[in-house]
Symmetry: C2
Subunit: 197 residues, 2 copies
DNA sequence: GACGGCTTGGCAGTAACTGCCAGGTTGGCG
DNA sequence: CGCCAACCTGGCAGTTACTGCCAAGCCGTC
């Protein structure tokens, strides 16, 4: 907060620590499965106390779903940054395109996504986060659809947003099931056009 | 299993017990909130041991989301029972119409739905269950869309299903937020038509 | 070199959940 | 009626995720 010019050497080592912890955690999850891996195990393997592990990542699920938060903001910013004459659908499409490109290395994303899509509790957490993104997008999409703040609640904007997310999730799931070989963007477009006809 | 003619008096008292436990649980949730209510508290209030409470309901979330399972089967059966010339969309619509009517008393449904939609962990669990319903519906919808079992995975049927669920959830959420005064079916149709145009 | 701020680690505690075992209830059979 | 097997119940201990608390250590500053 104080000085953006002060990475303070703590922040730096913190970032390194976070990355290292994340690596060991994902490795253990891959080796033994998510549920069979305990936080105590991860802490020991990473060489830190259990208490600090929980300070870095508020929950076990955050080890996997934590970096989703950044994508949510990115999606919202991208959608809102589209020129006003871009339709709601196209704005959302542009947003998803951005966060698909923003993914670090495809291999890492595939590993994480596979974990999420094959672990019910993680999948639930993942969906829950995306529900919050959807709520954040409603104002931007409503204005793009020419919907004024009416007295009666209007389902149109939330429905379009939710349907777009549904298409993105469908595409992602098939991408995961193909082992990363399918083309996510193409699947997404196919899904959208199937819904809109 | 043995005799369907043997309610065995155990099953009967079990049903009564389940209903009574459910009532006290929902009452406590309404009074103190879901997270602030412990299973120990519910067990004590219901006059059974904590161990038995967990035998009746496998988890705390099942106290609220447990009876969803029946609706999933009902939805699937209704969709599959539609005549073959009914389109995928209309078949899904008929299915949702059925489970909307199948709701017990609207007040009870409203109480439960309000709880689910205002408690993130319950909402996540709820969505997770519905994700499994969606997977069950894919074959029926694919055949209705004239999609043969192809070598390449096809996103169209899952996308249509997921979009329909998204519309249903949107309608339900607005219905909950209106305190049960809005017309769910009308909201659902508005949502669908907004998505499909 | 002492001080204040920040981090870390251990410890105890809570709450959801599970396995195990003893004890009581129910239902069928002689 | 008596007995046995099947079943359910309750309590107990244990696991795991997660939290608050407090002492100990590290870092930059005066």
């Amino acid at each position: 907060m104080a000085h953006p010019k002060a990475p303070t050497l703590w922040d730096r080592s913190r970032e390194i620590a976070v990355a290292a912890i994340l690596d060991t955690a994902l490795r253990l999850f891959a080796e033994q499965g998510y549920d069979a891996t305990t936080m105590a195990e991860i802490a020991k393997e990473a060489g830190i106390s259990q208490r600090s592990l929980f300070r870095y990542f508020g929950s076990k699920e955050d080890l996997v779903c934590g970096d989703q938060d950044g994508l949510g903001r990115l999606l919202k910013d991208t959608v809102e940054a589209q020129p006003p004459d871009v339709s709601a659908w196209d704005a959302l499409r542009a947003g998803f395109e951005t966060i698909m490109v923003a993914r670090h290395t495809p291999e890492r994303v595939l590993r994480i996504a596979t974990l999420i899509f094959s672990t019910p509790s993680l999948r639930a957490r993942y969906v829950e986060k995306r529900l919050r993104w959807q709520a954040d997008l409603v104002p931007a999409i409503e204005s793009r659809m020419g919907i004024a703040d009416a007295p009666a609640p209007d389902p149109r904007a939330p429905a379009v947003i939710a349907a777009t997310f549904a298409c993105a999730d469908t595409a992602t799931e098939l991408w995961v099931r193909s082992g990363g070989r399918a083309d996510v963007a193409a699947l997404f477009d196919e899904a959208i056009s199937a819904v809109r006809t």
